[in-house]
């Protein structure tokens, strides 16, 4: 069930340049079903900014009723969010959407998790859950530049981790796709900027592939039709999926990216 809850901030810190890790205490952790789900945050009581901001859940601690998010300070909303400190309250709606299916793999199989920039965070909880199931996990994480890299150590704890940067200032210079092509896997899970998703879908559409999409949102719950995308079978027709409530994770070929 989706809850709207005033959640207490347990901690917030800048873990890379403009990248913040935010942990809150929330009863809604009990409703979280799968890695890749997201929440919709109202960053301020004022109506400027007006809309909630969708942010993925990056890890969950049900025992302590806490969950963590990682986000980039970009515009008005995330800048305000970055100013919030420990003990303050945050109006959160969630969990929202459908996450990555962890049951697609059996113990011993290999999952390839490919993240770009702020698409990396939801893969962290995914990795945790896959490992717990006995699945082998490989991570390929792409960033713009060295100062934007985060969570390398955390991912390394769970499996092989390759980092790429566009400018080559850290890890391998180039794009995640350059790395993927040399790797073996049974299932690919990915989240990141649309061009990256498109490139991956083009290359691996014949494989078991799950993509997490991004779209500008209004309600976040399926009511406003802001976030729709076309069904792949009916590209010029009226069939659609909503990223917020049918997604954000889709099986490759389900929707037109």
């Amino acid at each position: 069930m989706i809850k709207k809850e005033l959640c207490k901030i347990i901690s917030q810190k800048e873990i890379a340049n403009d990248i913040f890790q935010l942990t809150v205490e929330a009863n809604l952790v009990n409703e979280i079903k799968a890695p890749g789900q997201f929440v919709h945050i109202r960053v301020d009581k004022s109506f400027d900014p007006l809309l909630r901001r969708p942010i993925s859940i990056s890890s969950v601690d049900k025992g302590n009723s806490q969950f963590t998010m990682i986000y980039r300070r970009e515009g008005k909303g995330t800048s305000l969010l970055a100013e919030k400190g420990q003990g303050m309250q945050l109006d959160i709606l969630g969990p929202l959407g459908n996450g990555f299916p962890v049951n697609e793999l059996s113990p011993g199989e290999t999952a390839l998790l490919v993240g770009g920039g702020i698409g990396v965070p939801p893969l962290y909880e995914l990795s945790i859950q896959l490992i717990a199931k006995g699945v082998r996990v490989i991570h390929v994480l792409g960033f713009q530049t060295q100062s934007a890299v985060f969570y390398e150590k955390e991912f390394l704890d769970y499996g092989e981790t390759y980092i790429t940067t566009v400018d080559g200032s850290y890890g391998k210079k180039g794009f995640v796709t350059d790395i993927i092509k040399n790797l073996e896997f049974d299932c690919l899970y990915t989240c990141g900027p649309t061009p990256m998703l498109k490139a991956i879908e083009k290359e691996y559409s014949d494989r078991k592939l799950f993509l997490s999409l991004e779209e500008r949102m209004g309600c976040g719950i399926g009511a406003c039709f802001a976030c729709v995308c076309k069904s792949s079978e009916d590209p010029s027709g009226v069939s659609y999926k909503k990223v917020c409530s049918d997604g954000p994770v889709f099986r490759a070929g389900e929707v037109l990216i």
Partner: protein, 313 residues
């Protein structure tokens, strides 16, 4: 609850609060949060004859205290709405106002004729003011004669009262209101969105794929209030007011301006509980302001009144 009930053509409202069309889908999503029977009414999403996908994304953009949308009337089409959405809604004790849209007059007539027969549809809302569809739509909402004729023809086929939804993107809103009143409208709903735009700082291009979109939210509240103030004095049919409402105080302000009921749109996205919260808070606010019934607030800005109740105390 008897301090909030309102009767309007076709509508016996428990309270004057209803979600605005397009901001509440067909109710399903919000039924996760509360019992929809709590609402005064529900204005469902615009329905057209054929299913529509609407505009390409991005379809929303944010503005200061507002948002732009260019959904483009996405909806499953008349048949599906009648066969599936409306029957689903009939489990709730709440009148439905069906928002009727189209590109040409015949579209409106076809939708109105069929949808007005649905048992839980108690009124129609003629959407002659959607700024996000290229043909029709806006033209109906900006030319008084065209709006009047459309109203008249829809009235001929509708089995329930017809409210006409006015566009704020006009020089003279009173003229539009009078035209549709003369066309036989049973009521008015206003305002629809103001046409607006945002540009992307990095690309220089419009943020919305549709270039322009409709501005809603608190930003437009003063424009809505002004137009309702002008129109409610000039016509004898009731006005359902909307535009930026997010609190019980806002509801009272719309009543003062001349509204007889209100709809809440964008605020549902900010707080899915906004409608029931307002409904719960209204009686307390009425107490504080010294009114017995919300109807006492209606048109107070332009009506002559005796002393307020709390002055008598």
């Amino acid at each position: 609850m008897s301090r909030l009930n309102i009767e309007l053509p076709g509508l016996k409202l428990k309270n004057p609060i209803m979600p605005a069309s397009g901001c509440f889908g067909f109710g399903k999503e919000y039924s996760q949060f509360y019992d929809l029977s709590k609402l005064g009414a529900i204005m469902i999403k615009a329905t057209t004859v054929e299913p529509r996908f609407g505009n390409p994304t991005p379809r929303v953009a944010e503005t200061s205290a507002g948002m732009l949308n260019a959904i483009g009337l996405q909806n499953p089409g008349l048949e599906k709405v009648i066969s599936s959405e409306l029957p689903w809604l009939s489990q709730f004790d709440v009148p439905i106002i069906a928002n009727v849209a189209g590109s040409v007059e015949e579209d409106y007539i076809e939708v109105a004729r069929s949808i007005s027969k649905a048992p839980n549809v108690h009124a129609l809302e003629l959407n002659i003011s959607c700024p996000n569809v290229k043909t029709g739509g806006i033209a109906f909402g900006t030319i008084p004669e065209v709006a009047q004729q459309l109203t008249r023809r829809v009235k001929e086929v509708s089995e329930v009262p017809v409210y006409v939804k006015l566009s704020p993107n006009v020089t003279n809103i009173v003229e539009m209101a009078k035209a549709v009143e003369a066309g036989g409208a049973d009521g008015l709903t206003m305002i629809n969105t103001l046409v607006g735009m945002r540009l992307d700082l990095k690309t220089g291009k419009p943020i919305l794929a549709n270039n322009t979109g409709g501005l809603s939210g608190p930003a437009i509240k003063p424009v809505a209030l002004r137009m309702i103030y002008e129109v409610s004095q000039a016509v004898t049919i009731p006005v359902i007011g909307m535009g930026g409402i997010e609190s019980a105080e806002d509801v009272i302000e719309f009543f003062y301006a001349g509204a007889s009921a209100v709809a809440v749109g964008t605020a549902n996205f900010v707080d899915p509980f906004v409608c029931p919260t307002i409904i719960d808070e209204l009686p307390l606010l009425l107490n504080q302001l010294g009114y017995e019934h919300i109807s006492e607030c209606r048109g107070r800005s332009w009506k002559e009144h005796g002393e307020l109740a709390y002055h008598r105390a």
